[in-house]
């Protein structure tokens, strides 16, 4: 059935379509249906003369080759690895092609969500699971869900971009064969050229016009990885040089002729409108052009961003009160009372007899907590908008191009197709650029400034205040141990719903239980004979959304800390017990690898301690060992070892960087970050209140990638969830103190 999925992915992706003045290969739907239509390939429209597009990812004109990065670049390397996957197959070298981000189109639906959305744990490769994933894939195709997220950069595109490149290569060879009279089999490609047997070369760009007049070679197959020139080997990310030289333009760096600058003050009671305001002082301030009212706040238009920020700060606003509790303590109270049948999300898994199991041996009970946390990528929310009589153009870095169209259009009474979206390089996201705080606001402002391009930049404080946070959650876990064995684990949590919230704000609400609350809760691969995993969905709290690793960022901490407690109660070694209990052979290998890397030999003593945690999220199993020392100045994190199995390491240097960054993210926020509400607004409004990790706290992080998983997996998020529990488990090993709530600095000091 693994075969079936591979087949269906390809069939959905590749068809052919002839268009006037050019040719487009790669429409969606089956080949026959697509042959009569140009709908599938968004590159077919707007193609210049004597140009060719082979599929939604390749465009060749007589001047240049353009490769489309399908996903948004949020620092994870999309703008490099996705074009390189195409270039690998086309025999293009870096520097021989331009890169453009995909525009909104169902052609760019994300196949990588099939595994995450289907209701089976990742390690389940049974026919039933694969059938469900195939059905999910078909749903994704039909819905045209174009979204960057879920660590799907590689899983979504590993197959289709290499096939896209192979189709382009073979079709260019066919065009060269026609021109030269040489058999295709005698042609080869190298460095952007077709090479004839006599050594003469024809540049790909010189073949564009002819390639547009011949049928595409749709059965082209990507090469075996053993033949790769770039992929799988240490390679230079294409964006590194421009970023180091300060030449890369992020969304916030873009400028247009005649542009004015906007800044906003929005109701910090998220989702609520403005009642009244007094802008008399702001109107007199330097650089100010205009003060505008929008639905949930006010905007100042000025001649530069700082003037706009200063003036908007001087506006006194009266806000409608929050729909959620004004004070943080009441958020926790709501969660505490959500462990009731009427709030049941779903009982995700039940094995054995949980009640009988809990009565066997020694009972262990523990409550865990995880707070709201902010995303706060370093580039604040921004965007440029221009509204004319025809519609709106918007330049903004975002992970969901089609939803941007919907949100902007809805805000100002246009149709989504009237919104022209240009994706931008972004200074990070971590889930922030899946939300729309800046989109609807920018549309409203630009709509009141028709004909003038408006650049909106959120102040950092505004960005914090509007940031829709990571879910807040409480876990009440129970388990039992008997005769040096875990007999039962009953994992229950109550949480706000990140994915449900995001889908609703994207205009695609779902009534299903939030699957992200199962992540890290039900995909537990230990041999525990009596097991149950249940989620409860708290209502009426702060809107919540996806934050790097989403559900597993909280559940992974709860589950792997609690498993550690059970292991200790059973008198076992945390590493050996996990290895012994692990039911999936190649996941066990991940644990064995991290044990070997860290030379795990049990307790260290002398105030030092090691903790281990293992979490599979987004299909990628990751095991981490954290080593700490309890010093006079607090806990010092000395070293972290990480093993992750992604099936195939496509971009090894970036892989290591992503994993290290994920560990830093997971540790830093677990140590010292939370958002708390007071009077309906979060109290943390800059990095001094929400610091995460700085370089002085950063440990040495040793990384190893494994390639045993039958599928190619992502790595942007999966290194995050094990970091917090591995740290908490290490602190326990070093000090005997069990920390059950993030952030840890509420309970222990860090160096």
């Amino acid at each position: 059935m693994g075969h079936m999925q591979t087949l269906s992915r390809r069939a959905f992706v590749f068809g052919s379509a002839t268009v006037a003045g050019g040719i487009a290969f790669g429409a969606y739907g089956n080949v026959e249906a697509a042959a009569a239509s140009t709908d599938g390939n968004p590159l077919a429209t707007g193609l210049g003369p004597n140009s060719v597009t082979f599929n939604p990812w390749v465009e060749i004109s007589p001047d240049k080759i353009t490769l489309i990065a399908q996903h948004a670049d949020i620092g994870q390397g999309v703008g490099s690895v996705q074009p390189i996957m195409i270039a690998e197959e086309m025999d293009l070298d870096p520097g021989q092609f331009e890169i453009r981000f995909a525009g909104p189109s169902p052609a760019y639906f994300n196949t990588g969500f099939a595994d995450e959305f289907a209701p089976f744990v990742a390690a389940d490769q049974s026919p039933a699971a694969e059938e469900a994933r195939a059905a999910t894939l078909e749903w994704l195709r039909k819905s045209g869900l174009q979204m960057t997220g879920g660590s799907s950069t590689i899983p979504d595109t590993y197959e289709k971009l290499r096939v896209a490149g192979a189709v382009a290569r073979e079709t260019l060879k066919a065009a060269a064969a026609k021109r030269s009279g040489v058999a295709i089999a005698d042609l080869r490609t190298q460095s952007g050229h077709v090479i004839l047997p006599n050594g003469s070369k024809i540049a790909f760009v010189a073949l564009a016009a002819e390639a547009s007049k011949i049928p595409p070679v749709l059965d082209a197959k990507p090469r075996d990885p053993s033949k790769w020139r770039m992929l799988g080997k240490p390679m230079m990310r294409l964006d590194v040089r421009a970023k180091v030289m300060g030449e890369l333009k992020f969304g916030i760096d873009m400028k247009m002729d005649g542009m004015l600058y906007a800044s906003v003050k929005l109701n910090p009671n998220k989702g609520q409108p403005i009642k009244s305001y007094d802008a008399s002082k702001a109107r007199t301030m330097p650089g100010v052009k205009k003060v505008l009212e929008i639905k949930n706040g006010v905007a100042v238009i000025a001649t530069n961003s700082w003037y706009a920020m200063k003036a908007v700060d001087a506006i006194a606003c009266e806000w409608a009160p929050s729909a959620y509790p004004a004070e943080q303590a009441d958020h926790w109270k709501v969660l505490e009372s959500s462990f009731k049948p009427e709030f049941l999300g779903k009982e995700w898994k039940k094995i054995g007899d949980i009640d009988a199991g809990l009565k066997t041996g020694k009972l262990v009970e523990a409550e865990y907590r995880a707070p709201y946390v902010a995303h706060q990528p370093l580039e604040p929310l921004n965007g440029i908008g221009l509204v004319t009589d025809k519609g709106m153009e918007i330049w903004v870095g975002h992970q969901s191009p089609r939803f941007v169209q919907w949100v902007a259009a809805t805000a100002i009474g246009l149709k989504p197709e009237q919104i022209t979206f240009h994706n931008q390089w972004t200074g990070g996201s971590f889930g922030h650029r899946l939300e729309y705080e800046n989109i609807g606001v920018l549309a409203q402002i630009a709509n009141q400034m028709k004909g003038t391009p408006i650049k909106l930049v959120f102040s950092r404080e505004e960005d914090f205040l509007q940031d829709i946070p990571r879910q807040i959650a409480i876990a009440r876990h129970r388990g039992s141990v008997d005769k040096s064995r875990i007999v039962a684990a009953d994992l229950q949590l109550a949480s706000t719903t990140p994915l449900k919230g995001l889908l609703e704000r994207s205009g695609t609400p779902s009534k299903d239980p939030d699957g992200q609350l199962a992540a890290g809760l039900w995909n537990v691969y230990y041999d525990i004979p009596n097991f149950r995993a249940t989620s409860y969905e708290a209502r009426g709290l702060s809107p919540s959304t996806t934050w790097r690793s989403v559900g597993a960022s909280t559940s992974g901490f709860f589950t792997e800390s609690f498993i550690d407690e059970l292991i200790h109660a059973a008198g076992l070694d945390p590493m050996k017990a996990r290895i012994a209990m692990c039911t999936v052979p190649h996941y066990r290998k991940v644990l064995e690898t991290v044990a070997e890397m860290s030379d795990w030999k049990g307790p260290l003593g002398n105030g030092r301690g090691r903790g281990v945690a293992f979490v599979e999220s987004f299909g990628t199993p990751v095991a981490e060992v954290v080593e700490v020392t309890a010093t006079e100045r607090g806990i010092r994190i000395d070293k972290v070892w990480v093993a992750a199995d992604v099936g195939k390491v496509v971009d090894p240097v970036n892989f290591e960087n992503q994993v290290q960054g994920g560990v830093v993210w997971g540790l830093g926020h677990a140590m010292n970050c939370e958002l708390t509400y007071s009077k309906g607004a979060v109290q943390q409004t800059n990095y001094n209140h929400h610091e995460a990790m700085r370089i002085y706290q950063c440990p040495i992080i040793e990384v190893r990638g494994l390639e045993n998983d039958p599928k190619v997996r992502g790595v942007g998020e999966p290194p995050v969830p094990p970091a917090a529990p591995a740290l908490a488990n290490a602190i326990f090993a070093a000090t005997g103190k069990r920390i059950r709530e993030m952030p840890f600095n509420k309970f222990i000091d860090f160096v």
């Binding site: 030289m245 961003s305 993210w665």
Partner: protein, 155 residues
């Protein structure tokens, strides 16, 4: 009109003297390698050199910078061959890259004061520069590499 020298070029700007240098660079002069991250000297993304020292341009009022010489990353001497930038490329430090211009300007300043810094010295000087992507291990490695390269070049 306020006069200053930016990247070796004399510039005049017509803004209020309280305006932070950062916004003069970005919005008035179109020099975008200095980034806005926090506005309160918490992140270091806006770091430039004034008279040779690393400063947070979000905290330097343009009125106080008048007559001084500002160097942004874009105006570094020998930028294409600069050992710190070369080390940053060699070690592929950036992920999103937004903080890196500030990190680099701070690192250059560090190496000007301490040519062969220890990890501890790196941590001390670089801790004001936030990286949300978590590239710290690579920043350390790149600084050591740049220090070694400069040492070699001197010989």
């Amino acid at each position: 009109m306020i006069e200053l020298t930016v990247d070796g070029i004399k510039r005049q700007v017509d803004v209020v003297p309280e305006m932070p240098l950062l916004w003069v660079l970005r919005d008035e002069l179109g020099i975008t390698s200095a980034k806005y991250g926090c506005g309160v000297a918490q992140c270091g993304a806006c770091t430039v050199h004034i008279d040779g020292l690393a400063v947070r341009s979000c905290q330097s009022h343009i009125g106080e910078v008048a007559g001084k010489s500002v160097v942004t990353l874009e105006g570094l001497d020998n930028r294409d061959q600069h050992p710190v930038l070369q080390a940053w490329i060699e070690h592929q430090v950036p992920q999103c890259g937004y903080c890196q211009t500030g990190q680099i300007m701070q690192a250059i300043s560090l190496l000007g004061l301490i040519p062969r810094p220890t990890d501890e010295q790196i941590d001390q000087v670089m801790s004001g520069n936030l990286c949300r992507c978590g590239t710290y291990p690579r920043i350390r490695a790149a600084i050591h590499a740049a220090a070694a390269a400069s040492k070699t070049a001197e010989k």
